[in-house]
Amino acid sequence: MKVLIVEDDAETADYIVNGLTEHGHVVDHAHNGREGLFLAGAGAYEVAVVDRMLPGLDGLSLVKALRGDGVKTAVLFLTNLGGIDDRVEGLDAGGDDYLVKPFAFSELLARVNALGRRPVTPTVDTVLRVADLDMDLLKRGVTRAGKTIELQPREFKLLECLMRNAGRVVTRTMLLELVWDFHFDPKTNIVETHMSRLRAKVDRGFDCELIHTIRGSGYSLRAPA
């Protein structure tokens, strides 16, 4: 996947560029807003990781300009610690996701992967399928190997997130945001307890497990190899 990093801090930029390259992405790096705008406008990137605070042209203005030019590249904003208004501002400016610095690399990677998979024009899926697991989004029904699985509304949402990102890692914080709209990290293990209930319903009593815990980063739902 072609990824553009717009980040003025050399150390952070190297950390991101090296990490993403190791995971097989093609990464370009712009050191400031103007260079970022030029590169993003010219190259067909799937994802742009944009720092909010940039010399010259700041991240928000950069993305506004890109959207104004009709560039559809998915944008992940990097914001500073504690900036509670940043998320809303970023999304309003045309960003697709945000991540607060400092972050674990696995978190960034999971989010970049999730954004890269997002279709440029949203298509409406009515059925999601991974291996023998089927989800009917219209009837809100789930079956595995033809057997109906009864899910609570939140469990359904949780499973939907995993299935839409099948084969990829979904982090705890991504799930908190997507399923509960929680933009903070509760001390209580909310995600873990819901996940264990979901697993009990989806995986228990079947031959192979579909939901996997990825240590140190999150969860992944994937078909057995």
């Binding site: 504690g82 209580t188 909310i190």
Partner: protein, 455 residues
């Protein structure tokens, strides 16, 4: 206090202006009174002389010169100390009767004469000619007129002087009183600038404008000192509470450097250090978030939202975790309650409260979350029947980094309830802590008229 400062006050300038205007009007009044009175007195004097002249001419017409002379003598006698004096002179210039010492030319004249005793006398004299060459003069002493005129002048001059003196003295006194009070306020301000924030402007209790100003200033000072006190606390707390984990981290890393033998041991130490640093960063994040909420800029982002839905979402999120921890989470939420606020912050506020109730209570605890409204207020309650907190700690549980004795062993930054408090303050929500006997009850009273539909 030096005099020039008084002369420079607004009060003094205003009173000086009034004194000048008033003194000028007194002077104008004096001049007018003087002129009018003087003219009237002059006319009366002339009329008296003319009346006497007519009567004496009548006496001359009826009895000739001899009759006139006897009439003059009679008049002179009947009015010995009177203001009128007479002189009748024959055609040869010889005085026939009367005491008027001088006789000027025919017609009206004002004559000045030095008397034998040295005084200067001024007279108004009319001289008329009689048939046969004789002359009749009648004079009046102007002394009375001049006395009256002098009295008027003296009176008004005294009044003018009194106005000036009283006005200036009054102005200085007023300015002095005003300046004293302003000076008091100024001295208080100087003392505060010098660092004594406990100083307050004295209030007299009269309720006048300066008193009201002083009260407002005092309230402002109270607020400032509150803020400064909390700021001082916060910086000290932050320094202390962040230094401790950093120091611990350093010790561990140093121990690893000295004692770790294998790559595995180093890896484990690095992993532990990252977890440790993440905790510190979380604390930093929480502190910054609280600071931003307290700054109040977020209020501009208030929207109408479904509070019942927020309560339901939070309770749903925590229910399985509570259950796994062996606790019961009950809910009683009235649907469709709408308020104006910030969704993200209100969600986190409730989440922190429920989080606390779950984490700081033993297994078997019963937790209840409710949201309801009566005709006036919306009330949210989080109750547990855990160990609770002693009443003297109730205020302090909202302070940053404050942790109850029995909670110190459980993980947490001691910032959760501070954030609750900050969000509540931002939304005008009153927080009451109550004893649930046993346990702790936190009551959120949303502001009156806060419900969107009733606005």
């Amino acid at each position: 206090m030096r005099l020039p400062r008084i002369l420079n006050t607004a009060t003094f300038r205003l009173s000086a202006l009034y004194v000048v205007l008033f003194a000028m009007s007194v002077a104008a009044l004096g001049v007018i009174a003087y002129l009018v009175t003087a003219a009237a007195l002059e006319r009366r004097l002339d009329a008296r002389i003319e009346g006497e002249m007519t009567r004496l001419h009548a006496a001359f017409a009826s009895g000739g010169l001899a009759n006139l002379a006897s009439a003059v003598r009679t008049h002179q006698q009947t009015l010995p100390a009177g203001p009128l004096e007479y002189s009748l002179m024959g055609a040869d210039g010889r005085p026939l009767a009367g005491k008027l010492p001088i006789v000027p030319a025919l017609g009206w004249s004002d004559v000045e004469r030095v008397e034998s005793d040295g005084d200067v006398s001024r007279r108004r004299i009319q001289v008329t000619a009689l048939a046969g060459g004789a002359r009749l003069a009648i004079g009046a002493d102007r002394e009375q007129i001049e006395d009256v005129e002098q009295a008027i002048l003296d009176g008004f001059a005294s009044a003018f002087g009194a106005v000036l003196v009283l006005g200036i003295v009054g102005g200085i006194a007023l300015s002095f009183a005003f300046l004293m009070r302003v000076e008091t306020i100024r001295r208080t301000a100087e003392a505060i600038i010098a660092g004594d924030l406990t100083q307050r402007v004295p209030v007299r209790g009269t309720g006048d404008d300066l008193d009201r100003l002083s009260q407002t200033l005092n309230r402002m000072l109270d607020r400032i000192s509150e803020l400064m006190e909390s700021l001082r606390h916060i910086s000290a707390d932050i320094a202390h509470d962040l230094k401790t984990p950093l120091a611990r981290l350093r010790q561990r890393l140093e121990a690893t450097q000295t004692h770790a033998q294998s790559v595995e041991e180093h890896d484990a130490a690095i992993e532990a250090a990252i977890v440790h640093i993440d905790e510190i960063l979380t604390t930093f994040g929480a502190l910054l978030r609280i600071a931003q909420i307290e700054a109040g800029t977020r209020r501009s982002g208030f929207r109408e939202l479904d509070l019942s839905a927020i309560f339901t979402t939070v309770v749903d999120a925590f229910a399985p975790a509570a259950e796994d921890a062996g606790k019961r989470l009950d809910v009683k939420i009235k649907p469709g309650i709408r308020v104006s606020g910030d969704r993200e912050l209100l969600t986190q506020m409730l989440a922190n409260l429920v989080d606390n109730a779950i984490r700081h209570t033993p297994a078997g605890t019963h937790i209840e979350v409710s949201l309801g409204s009566d005709s006036e207020r919306i009330i949210g309650v989080v109750t547990d029947n855990g160990p609770g907190a002693p009443p003297e700690e109730w205020e302090r549980i909202f302070q940053r980094f404050y942790r109850l004795e029995h909670s110190r062993s459980t993980p947490g930054s001691g910032l959760g309830l501070s954030l609750v408090k900050a969000v509540a303050n931002l939304h005008g929500i009153a927080i009451d802590v109550r004893d649930a006997e046993p346990g702790l009850q936190i009551v959120l009273r949303f502001p009156e008229g806060g419900e969107w539909g009733r606005r």
